[in-house]
């Protein structure tokens, strides 16, 4: 026998690339809007070149061999950039699987006369390509997850603004739900702003919180306690009728916290506490 699969493939590199490109270009999932054909050819040529360069008779059977490190790296890069460009998983799958097909077709034409050897070669190449495909998918999903994580961070950041509504009065509208991580962000930014603006009153508005369960209540109570430790008073506003009923049934004791139905009434309370008086200016009659 003595035929070297790796050498066999390396010799036919050009033909394999052509086959691969033909399969890719004829596939219906070709995305010319995301990547031009020239770019695709360049990417494919580079990948095939790297793969065949490291491929030897020895490491062909060992898919986890460290020799494949550069191939995995390159593939991860391709997969990641495809995820960000908006390729679907199927399109990325087609990219790898069409290469597998091209490699197998090449082997089929070269070792026609020895079926046993051909079968062995096909199994080994298949195993290698499948393993590469797993890498591609793993990084593809990681790429997508990165996008999601970035968005989560952005949402967390923009959703907890501390607003100075008046000299010495801060308002903090809470939207969504209060979990442990969120409370941490809320508390941190609130306490920091209390120091920075030397405010004495903070209004926590929970109009945007869908449900107040015991965990949310516990976080609210903790935030209020921390605010008080800083020497500021905390008012919770935006308690809707259905929330009030639920809180009572649940048995949460919020009686030693100042609570108001609306942000307006909380602000009014804050004015009273600061001994401020807001009144309409009587228009002075001009004329005569």
């Amino acid at each position: 026998m003595g035929t070297d699969i790796a050498k066999l493939l390396q010799k036919k590199q050009k033909r394999i690339l052509e086959n691969w490109m033909t399969t890719q270009l004829s596939n219906i999932s070709l995305r010319e809007d995301l990547m031009s054909n020239d770019e695709l050819r360049e990417q494919s040529a580079e990948f095939l070149d790297t793969l065949l360069k490291v491929l030897t008779e020895k490491n062909l059977g060992n898919v986890e061999s460290s020799d494949f490190e550069p191939v995995h790296e390159l593939l991860a890069g391709i997969s990641l950039s495809r995820a960000k460009q908006g390729f679907t998983p199927a399109e990325t799958g087609v990219y790898i699987f069409s290469l597998k097909e091209a490699l197998l077709t090449s082997l089929q034409t070269d070792i026609k006369e020895d079926p046993a050897f051909l079968l062995d070669a096909v199994i080994r190449i298949s195993r290698l390509m499948d393993y590469l495909c797993i890498t591609a998918f793993e990084t593809f999903i990681k790429g997508r997850e990165e996008v999601i994580l970035r968005q989560t961070d952005e949402i967390a950041e923009i959703s907890t603004p501390v607003i100075r509504v008046w000299d010495g009065i801060l308002a903090l509208p809470i939207i969504g739900t209060l979990d442990s991580a969120r409370t941490q962000v809320v508390m941190e930014s609130l306490l920091q702003e209390i120091v920075a603006s030397s405010s004495t009153i903070a209004i926590l508005d929970i109009s945007g919180v869908a449900a107040v369960d015991s965990l949310v209540a516990q976080h609210l109570i903790k935030t209020v306690a921390a605010t008080r430790l800083m020497g500021a008073e905390c008012i919770i506003s935006g308690i809707r009728p259905e929330i009030a009923q639920t809180v009572v049934h649940l048995g949460i004791d919020l009686s030693n916290i100042i609570t108001k139905a609306t942000l307006a009434s909380a602000l009014k309370q804050a004015f009273t506490m600061l001994k401020l008086n807001v009144k309409k200016v009587e228009t002075i009659k001009s004329g005569i």
Binding site: A210, T246, L250, G251
Partner: protein, 137 residues
């Protein structure tokens, strides 16, 4: 007799699932025309139990069912986990008792929020909590 009209299953594995799950429950509650107060009570109860499940059992499975009984319709939620279980259910149902560092009103509070409440637990095997909230309950 309670007739099950619709069944839906949901896996709870992370804290992020709580919001998704709550929204799903809300969808069903809105669909059967539950009032806003009852909706909020159901969602709060659901959120309470699902958080317990995450905290003590690292997640589990929730079955959401739309029920019909006579002229009334309602929603049943069955929370199943494979956690450590509850040793003394009577004690866990008491206000102010908590093995974690929470307020200790989760289970008794939930019972007050819903119409029917059932809890079964075997130490070492897991806990199943089933609640029903009727549309006009």
């Amino acid at each position: 007799m309670k007739i099950v009209l619709n069944k839906d299953r949901m896996l709870i594995e992370r804290e992020q699932d709580v919001i998704l799950f709550r929204n799903r429950v809300k969808e069903y509650a809105v669909k059967i025309g539950m009032s806003l107060v009852n909706q909020t009570k159901l969602i709060t109860a659901a959120s309470e139990l699902v958080r317990n499940m995450l905290k003590y059992a690292n997640g589990g499975m929730v079955l959401i069912e739309v029920l019909s009984q006579g002229r009334d319709s309602g929603i049943r939620l069955v929370f199943t986990d494979k956690g450590p279980g509850i040793k003394d259910i009577a004690l866990a149902m008491k206000d102010g008792y908590s093995t974690g560092k929470s307020l200790g009103i989760g289970l008794p509070g939930t019972k007050r929020l819903v119409n029917e409440f059932d809890i079964k637990s075997t130490v070492g095997e897991g806990t199943t909590v089933s609640i029903i909230k009727w549309k006009n309950g």
